[in-house]
Amino acid sequence: MSEPAANLETLVAEAVGAASAASSSALNDDSAVAVNSQLNRPLYQSRIKVQPKLVHGTFRRIKWLVMALTLSIYYVTPFIRWNRGPGMPDQAVLLDFPARRFYFFFLEIWPQEFYYVTGLLILAALGLFLATSVAGRVWCGYTCPQTVWTDLFVFVERLFEGDRSARIRLDKEGWSLSKLARKAGKHVVWLLIAILTGGAWVFYFADAPTLATQMVTFSAPITAYIFVGLFTATTYTLGGIAREQVCIYMCPWPRIQGAMFDEESLLVSYKDDRGEKRGPHKKGSSWEGRGDCIDCGQCVAACPMGIDIRDGMQLECIQCALCIDACDEIMDKVGRPRGLIGYDTLNNRERRKAGEPLRFRIIRPRTIVYAVALLVVSAAMLIALANRQTLQLNVLRDRNPLFVTLSDGSIRNGYGIKIINKDTAAHVFHVAIQGPEGASLAGISAEEANPTEVEIGPDALKNVRFYVSLPKDRLSALDGGLAKLSFVVTDETGRRTVSETTFRGPAQ
């Protein structure tokens, strides 16, 4: 053990001692130590477990709601059905790797249309930038899976081991049957949650009800079990064990977010201008000449990141706003106005100091730029989606040989054409050409009754070969051995697509 760790242990011991000494006070203070603050975390310090205390209030309620909502979306989505017609999967959201399709409600994306997904990711990134510039790390604090699952895991921990002080006590005492039962119970439930998390993930990649039955009867593909195992392990490790370390050490977002804040961003902050000078306060004594912070440590005790919000803005803070609830509870008890810790901007801090009225400038150049970018990308995506072609045509002219001379002296070119029918019904496609006068189209088999009619099933593509011939007396239409030629494909519903290519013959 290095020196600072020993120091910290004494610190914690002192704090706990102080807590028991102060237990008679009205606040039932458990003087918390911010184990992850810069001061208490030297470079070679091993991690000290953060034991967040349960708080009650507006933001805790919002967080429960967001947790319920996001978890529901995650677990329920694969089971939503969406009718796409016969022979097509009826799962609303499905990443079908074997068939190489991505289904998202009314959308069906082929691999070559992956730019839609890119667009979606760009939208998500811009949305994140906008939200961050308006209200700081709201993504981190409320909706990030790491936050949601950690919150869920802490909730389970609280069920088995009690709240913060009970947990600290339990960890300190020796092993007993009761301790073993509590710890085992917690880990079993954690594992169950982890298995369900991994289990839900694989449902996005196969028909969910079918796979669910297969999973239970142990007849699912081995890949499914491998991925469930993988996600079980990561959920258990990241949500149960690693927790805040993921945000502090693994995640790049805390490093990037600094570029998105400015002086007008709403950030969870301690209003030091109002709170200082802090210190314990005896009931009934005057508030004159001191700040509102009574140094009760509740904000630290509630913090899932193990920091002290009063140290100011710091990388470790995910701005979950739980310290706001913790502080508001105390302010109510001591009879001071709420909001000593709250959503505040850097400029408002200055304005308060200068005695100016507070301003909340949500609309400012930075947010306008992000919002406009968001709108532009959304519009581009909508336009692209509205104009999405359900019939596509690729034409590849034979290059070996470039052209063939037939016995009557006419010139023939070969073409491989690929017709893609993205519609959910089968269609008969008529193939025609537009090119030099006299050019004729033929399929590979002369016996076929209608070689220019091609039937293609729903959501399928077909490769067909065609030959175009130009009679000897029409070869003058070639310019330097070259003429323009277009393939035109139409179906009975009136869909039409054209692909340009060339016709080659001997250069005269």
């Binding site: 070996n400 040989p401 063939v404 016995s407 009557d408 002296g409 023939r412 070969g414 590979i444 088999s445």
Partner: protein, 294 residues
């Protein structure tokens, strides 16, 4: 080296006793996980020697190696994989084998297999003479066009591929002969010149109408038995059509004179002894699909 154990004062770690210019080497042991992984690797390698081919040894017959209890060889793995592929293809190959070639052409899914197989076989066996795009060359027919020496129907192509052309080892090979009219003193140089002019006149390329007129008589007497009175050839005999735009050896006067003077006799191997029946069917279907099939 000192025999006494010595501890470094700053770190409290034992030293190895090695010292260079006052710098002492600390004796920090390797991490436990590393050591145990190392031990496991040693055990693993011993098990590996037993179950996999590992140790070479010398016998009177030369170098050998221990076979290993699993009996694993890379060669064996490859042949097992090839067997698996062959098993997968067997379903289609059996059908192709059993079905008449004209029926395969009407079956879409079999055609897909046959064309892919035919293309690969063509690249391996036929491309050296006929070219990778089957466009042929001087003396090697272009298989894309609609001019066929021995017939362009599926069955004709299948027969040609199976038995070859002028392939002596095959009794059923396609056989004919363009006589050496000059070498065997059947015609004079003048007669050959006239005949060549006549042949050119069939495609309106003659320079000398007089000579062409004289050549018509020469042609009548010597060539019509194979090439026909109308010079359109005869696929039964493998006699080329002399009126069309396609020439195997060239359609200019000098080449025609050479052909008539010295004869021609290109050879195509019989593939029946080298390729299986189903492979030849695939090949015929592929060649037929190149655009000239009848």
């Amino acid at each position: 080296m000192s025999t006494q154990k010595h501890k470094d004062e700053v770190s409290g770690v034992e030293t190895t006793g090695h010292e260079w210019d006052g710098i002492k080497e600390l004796n920090n042991p390797l991490p436990k996980w590393w050591i145990y992984t190392f031990y496991v690797c040693i055990l693993w390698s011993i098990a590996y020697w037993v179950v996999f081919p590992a140790w070479p040894y010398f016998t009177s017959g030369g170098w050998k190696h221990t076979a290993g209890s699993f009996g694993y060889t890379q060669r064996g793995e490859v042949s097992a994989e090839l067997e698996k592929v062959a098993e997968g293809r067997a379903v289609f190959l059996k059908q192709i084998d059993a079905m008449p070639i004209e029926d395969i052409a009407k079956n879409d899914s079999l055609m897909e297999v046959a064309l892919a197989g035919g293309k690969a076989t063509f690249a391996d066996n036929c491309a050296p003479c006929h070219g990778s795009g089957a466009a042929g060359g001087n003396g090697f027919p272009n298989l894309n066009d609609d001019d066929w020496l021995w017939g362009g129907k599926l069955a004709d192509i299948q027969t040609t591929v199976t038995h070859g052309i002028r392939w002596e080892a095959d009794a059923d090979t396609r056989q004919n002969m363009m006589p050496r009219f000059l070498d065997d003193q059947m015609l004079t140089r003048e007669q050959i010149n006239d005949a060549a002019e006549y042949v050119l006149s069939l495609s309106n390329k003659a320079d000398d109408a007089e000579a062409a007129k004289r050549g018509a008589a020469v042609f009548e007497a010597n060539c019509t038995s194979c090439h026909g009175a109308d010079a359109k050839g005869n696929q039964e005999l493998g006699a080329p059509n002399l009126t069309d735009a396609i020439w195997l050896y060239g359609g200019d006067k000098a080449t025609i004179v050479t052909t008539v003077s010295h004869g021609r006799g290109g050879v195509m191997p019989a593939w029946g002894t080298r390729l299986s029946g189903s492979t030849i069917k695939e090949l015929a279907l592929y060649v037929h699909s190149l655009g000239g099939g009848k």
